[in-house]
Amino acid sequence: MTSSAEAIVTLREVGREYPGRVTALRDIDLDIYRGELVAIVGPSGSGKTTMLNVMGTLDRPSAGQVLIDGFDIAELSDRELSALRASRIGFVFQHFHLAAGVSVLDNVADGLLYAGTGLRERRERAEAALQRVGLGRRLTHRPHALSGGEKQRTAIARAVVCEPALLLADEPTGALDSQSGEGVMRLLLDLNEIGTTIVVITHEHMVASQLPRQVSMLDGRVVGDRTAVGL
């Protein structure tokens, strides 16, 4: 969080338009530095999800420049972007998106499936990740046997198993009750403490206020960027 830290995400005059003249992002300038814990907050329709998609290379901007971990997105092919996502970026979604008939361990191991790691190593690292999120005893369970909070923790484990430079979470507590939600936020704070850069998209100011930096969005623009002192 110091100015000498390198930027993991750099957005320069980024815009994103969809057919039918829908402008999801307008003129975004944003830097996110290594080790930061950032909330992107705003009402629905403010462009937060599009922002996450662009940061996560799931979507290309219509205008402007995007740099992720030093790579210029415009110069990378689709295959190279996929490789970037496989090794440098982790995602956590509101609705978990776990594979139904598959054990928790294998769900997390899938996080390394496209990174070229062998089966045994994938499972070993998955087990370590699950220990880190506190689910070491649920390795063989299937997702339907888990509570909402446990499912999200599994999804987080899957996101961090490849030790990504950037973790992007889209409304991670949106589908959870307040207690599980708190647990998940605590986990994210812990992960950030050991050095993971985390960006959390949320529409809840309660959630956003727990994070040291809050970027506010409205109608596709960044309208505020507050770094709380002493948090």
């Binding site: 998609n53 295959r79 496989a86 008939g101």
Partner: protein, 386 residues
Amino acid sequence: MLRLAAYGLRARPLRVVLSALGIAIGIAAMVAVVGTSTSSRAKLDRQLAALGTNLLTVAPGQTLFGEKATLPDQSVAMISRVGPVESVAAIGQLPDAKVYRTNKIPAPQSGGIGTYAVRTDLLNTVGGTVASGTWLNAATAQYPAVVLGAATAEHLGITAASANMQIWLGGRWFTVVGILDPVPLAPELDLGALIGWPAAQRYLGLDADITTVYTRTDPDTVEAVRELLARTANPAQPNEVDVSRPSDALAAQAAAETTFTGLLLGLGAVALLVGGIGVANTMVISVLERRAEIGLRRSLGATRRHIRIQFLTESLLLSVLGGGAGILLGAGATAGYATLQDWPTVVPTWVMAGGITATLIIGGVAGLYPAIRAARVSPTEALAAT
């Protein structure tokens, strides 16, 4: 990738079964059709091998005037002098010696049974076997003893030969000393009553004309001998002689079946096509349902190619499951039917290999479009929070 495909299928077992069923039925039908026809052909081949294909039948045809011709008396001797000929046996029909069960039956009801005077080496030559009693020998050929063909015995209601069993033949009693099994190579004998040549002369006062000569030759020279037999049997009028090879008739049966087999194979292919459509349908629906999974995998770093391969592999696996089940079903049906018909069970490897190849092709083609569709799913749309 195979593991991934297997997981994908395991999620919906009933759907997998129903989709694979179409292919299974198509393949099973094709395997069963080819299997049963091959098995029946194998049975026929065994039969022919046991009976031998080297039997030639020489019979008088018709004269130029359309009358029934006869073979000259020396024909037997002449034929046996042909080098490759191994054995010769002649029979002479006795059209006036009618056969009845007892002497109380009115004359016209002779039941279509033919009486033949035969030599004792006939049975060996035509490859016949005795069902009950014994064949004629040098002694019984001189006495009023008769051996009945299988159909004759059934006709007359006689089930076993014995010293007490007698029939009314040519106006006198003959003892039934033997009953034959059906003779595949000389079916005319099945509806025959066979008596020794000397007996015919002595008791019926008939000197039979030779009506058919059976001859076995060296198997390698059958066709060559066949050419000469007409001239050998009746040098004066070779065109009045008919030479035939009875095993040809049996072989012809097999040939007739091939057209039928072809038709059934065609039907099986249609079933296979329909099965393939079923697989394609399943895969298309699967892709639609799993948009979120596709979006997730893209976020985990899967390329479009990874997604394509995943769904294509699933489609192939689905088809192979159907194909494998189909082969087992088809082979099982073949085994069951063949055993019922007393044939050996033969399922040619080529049909099984062909079946697997066909399923792989069908699976590949059926899964191609869905796989391409899957790869084109936009991750952002797929993952949009509902």
